[in-house]
């Protein structure tokens, strides 16, 4: 496939790995003091495991899988709110497939569906709007989830609904923003990171400028990266080159898709429909100031939160979960006490085990657990 296959070339990957090894030796890092690079985006976590990128890299690089999987950081209380909305008889509750199995305190959306609620998986928020057109006597709710990548799509769908005068459509808005989250990570005391792989598709919307503070104030380099294996390897190489040359900049490896200025149309739609929340609750990370958005008053009619008065209860994560520590990179997924035992993709306890963009599910699915335990055994 065009723009995909050429970024999966094995020989080019080998060349990049050699270059990475050469730079690492020059920087003077080895296994005892590995360089820590965080990929912020769940899409990268997914690709890294899917293509075995970690296994190609020398042991003197450690990839820390950041909090950028929107499904994984959704707190339990919000899932309960979804279920509460879905349980109303007039509602058709629509969602991306990834969110179906996230556990709530009572049940997941999948269980709600099994219990008779009208929950439907859609590919696009526009598909949800089409359902609203088709069933004018029902209330169609779309579960709006994701970072700046998906935010424009739900905002544009609301604007389209308004243009058409569709009244039986609303968004349950759980969109989150990446920049305050990166800042929270940088401010966290138990973290020691040498650089970031920047989220390519968020950047396609917001551009490079919002990350400037990372280089300027926190003195960490970032490379905005694409999602194919070569993109990720090349971005790591670019990061190492910065570290080797003592630079801290925001560089863009993914310019073919993510222009420096972002996407003006998308940003306008987002600004029109959404405004920042004072704070938003993250699973495992707690409350982060200004890290979420809500529907503006002008579009209150399209806001499921107002239409259906959701319970909005705060529910603590199960005690045995260590999702927070995994999210911050303090422990590896396989070091969580319930990993692969009480918590597996079939019976997830934590959300990191649900989505294929979650670090735990990725480790589990692509055999990282064995590798992790082998590493531990060889280190002991």
């Amino acid at each position: 496939m065009r723009y995909v296959d050429e970024f999966r070339d094995r020989t080019k990957a080998e060349v990049l790995v050699k270059e990475i090894e050469r730079l690492l030796a020059h920087i003077g890092r080895d296994q005892s003091r590995p360089l820590q690079i965080m990929e912020v985006c769940g899409g990268h976590t997914h690709s890294i495991f899917r293509y075995g990128v970690e296994g190609m890299l020398p042991k003197s690089i450690e990839l820390v899988h950041g909090p950028g999987c929107p499904v994984c950081v959704l707190p339990m209380g919000r899932v309960d709110d979804c279920v509460a909305i879905a349980e109303r008889p007039e509602v058709i509750f629509t969602t991306f497939g990834d969110a179906m199995r996230v556990p709530g305190s009572r049940k997941s959306l999948l269980q709600a569906k099994a219990d008779g609620c009208d929950v439907r998986m859609v590919y696009s928020p526009m598909d949800a709007l089409a359902l609203a057109r088709k069933y004018p006597t029902r209330e169609v709710v779309f579960f709006g989830i994701g970072f700046e990548t998906t935010m424009p799509s739900t905002a544009l769908t609301v604007l389209q609904a308004e243009r058409e005068g569709i009244r039986n459509f609303s968004i349950f808005c759980n969109h989150i923003t990446i920049v305050p989250t990166i800042k929270a990570i940088l401010d966290s005391p138990d973290l020691r990171l040498d650089g970031f792989l920047g989220p390519g598709h968020v950047s396609m919307v917001i551009g490079d400028a919002p990350y400037e503070f990372i280089a300027r104030y926190y003195k960490k380099p970032m490379v905005i990266a694409g999602f194919e294996p070569l993109d990720i390897l090349q971005s790591i190489w670019m990061l190492l080159r910065q570290i080797d040359q003592g630079r801290c900049e925001i560089e863009n490896q993914y310019a073919r898709v993510a222009p420096a200025g972002g996407n003006a149309v998308a940003l306008q739609a987002v600004a029109k429909v959404y405004e920042l929340r004072e704070f938003f609750e993250w699973r495992g990370l707690g409350s982060i100031d200004h890290s979420g958005v809500k529907v503006r008053d002008a579009y209150a009619g399209f806001d499921a939160e107002r239409k259906f008065a959701v319970p909005n209860a705060k529910i603590a994560d199960p005690k045995s979960c260590q999702c927070g520590e995994v999210l911050k990179g303090v422990i590896k997924p396989w070091q969580c006490k319930v990993f692969g035992r009480a918590c597996s993709p079939e019976t997830p306890l934590g959300a990191l085990m649900v989505s294929s963009e979650g670090a735990c599910a990725a480790y589990y699915q692509y055999g990282g657990i064995k590798r992790g335990r082998d590493d531990e055994a060889s280190a002991a």
Binding site: Y3, V4, V15, C41, C69, T149, M204, L230
Partner: protein, 98 residues
Amino acid sequence: MCLGIPGCIVSIDNADDLVATVDVSGVRRQINISCIVDETHPVESCVGDWVLVHVGFAMSRINEAEAAETLRLLRELGEFQAELETMQTLTDAVAAEE
């Protein structure tokens, strides 16, 4: 959910609502193209565009020149690596002779 997929726009289906059909590896579906349309790139000029498709929206026009540039850098790196290896083997050979 954060991954997108490249596709090629094959027709404009509704110019007012900015709906087009995209072909992704032989699979066709309707998508919204608001995010790739502006004064400099009107609806009519979108057919043939390679775009990144994400949850039913064309989110970005793929920049052909930038894609080529990335691949060129990768190729050069390969040549550089080959040269480095030759240099290394030759240096080793000289050292072994001494």
